[in-house]
């Protein structure tokens, strides 16, 4: 009778080579459609490394709690694999397959190892399956986290991309706004605009909202904040690019830009700005 529980699962790693081959076969079968994403060589390398870390961790007494230090190298490695797969474009289930496909070869070995006693076998299988499930869930968790990280990074990039401040003329800045304005974006736009006003010493700023799909009371309030902040610094602000539908919906909603000059197009706003700073554009004779 095998009372030494840890014995079984660590003993089977004597057959590491066979487990490895079977596991790889399982993985290839599962990922046959995704050979474009990961090469056979990489997969083999990852699997070898995982088994090399997994084996010593299994031979410790602890198969239930993977938060302990002896499992840390395994978790770290799994984390890095999941992260790289999330970036490569694997689906979560494909990522978890990396761990789950190890079940079959592992169970097969266990069955060969513990032929005599059905109770021990069931016991060992249960332990192994709990362990593998935990590891599999961990990969999914890391996968999810790295996806969220990617989304966050892209959001930050979009914020930067979508709020350029351009210098139209000496003393005239323009901010072409594209996309819906929320408070976070308004903050970024405001900071960029005000900093540019200081840097360039411009006394005129044109906020162009051609690319803003809708103007409701919130958006109007955000725009007004930006305009008042620029005004406080000593720069005049004009809002331009108000499309016909926007003008209509603004009036219907009762939104108004009080004390702010508004123009239909950027060209009109630029002309107005020229006049304000005492410049004229003339056609060559």
């Amino acid at each position: 009778m095998t009372t030494n529980k840890q014995g079984c699962i660590s003993k089977i790693f004597v057959h590491q080579e066979e487990i490895m081959e079977e596991w790889l076969r399982e993985q290839f079968a599962a990922l046959s459609a995704r050979q474009d994403l990961i090469s056979e060589l990489d997969l083999r390398r990852q699997s070898t490394e995982f088994l090399a870390l997994f084996t010593p961790a299994c031979s410790t007494d602890n198969l239930t709690d993977i938060t302990t230090p002896e499992w840390k190298p395994v978790l770290d490695f799994l984390g890095s694999v999941s992260r790289s797969r999330a970036i490569q474009g694997f689906s979560p289930s494909e990522t978890a397959t990396f761990v789950f496909s190890l079940k079959q070869p592992l169970f097969a070995r266990l069955r060969q190892e513990v032929v005599a006693d059905a109770v021990v076998l069931a016991d060992e299988l249960w332990k192994a399956t709990v362990l593998m499930d935990k590891l599999g869930l961990y990969t999914t968790e890391v996968y999810q986290k790295s996806r969220e990280e990617i989304i966050r990074r892209q959001q930050a990039e979009m914020l930067e991309l979508s709020t350029p401040v351009v210098k139209l003329w000496d003393g005239i800045l323009a901010v072409p706004l594209i996309g819906t304005l929320d408070s976070v974006r308004t903050q970024v736009v405001m900071e960029n605009l005000l900093q540019s006003i200081v840097d360039t010493g411009s006394s005129f700023a044109i906020v162009d909202i051609t690319g803003v799909p809708t103007v409701d009371t919130m958006v109007a309030q955000h725009l007004l904040k930006t305009v008042s902040a620029a005004k406080l610094m000593g720069a005049n602000c004009v809002i331009s690019g108000i499309r016909p539908q926007i003008a209509q919906s603004m009036v219907h909603l009762g939104v108004e830009f009080r004390d702010v000059v508004t123009k239909a197009t950027l060209a009109d706003a630029l002309e107005y700005a020229f006049r304000q700073i005492g410049r004229t554009v003339t056609k060559q004779a």
Partner: protein, 129 residues
């Protein structure tokens, strides 16, 4: 107790706030400025706040109050050199400060003051054509 110096430059008074304002300093500035304005018979006040890094609602309101006081006394006032962070703070605090004139720097502020003083009665010549 320290004071913020008020310098007479031609027909203007120049106030440069170089230290962080606390409430008592703000009150004494209001006091000194109104007194000096009467004493020197200046027609315009230029307040340079380019070194002011922190504002709260009190200081924000004080800027508005000073502008109102000056206009009550028949003088024009211009606030120059507000930092972006200060401008954002004032807007976020919900202080409208509609009554104050602003300019980017002292040079532009002087020019604006001259324009304002020449066009008596038209308080919003900043916008006029």
């Amino acid at each position: 107790m320290d004071h913020i110096p008020i310098i007479k430059v031609g027909e203007f008074l120049l106030v440069s706030i170089q230290v962080d304002m606390h409430d008592r300093l703000a009150m004494s500035l209001q006091n000194d400025l109104t007194t000096q304005l009467i004493k020197t018979r200046a027609q315009g006040v230029l307040i340079d706040i380019s070194a002011l890094e922190i504002v709260d609602s009190f200081i924000g309101r004080m800027l508005g109050n000073i502008a109102s006081m000056m206009s009550v006394l028949g003088a024009e006032s211009v606030v120059v050199g507000m930092r972006p962070a200060v401008a954002i703070t004032i807007v976020e605090l919900g202080l409208s400060l509609n009554n104050i004139h602003t300019a980017l720097n002292v040079d532009k502020g002087m020019a604006l003051l001259r324009v304002l003083m020449n066009s008596t009665g038209d308080s919003d010549s900043h916008e006029s054509r």
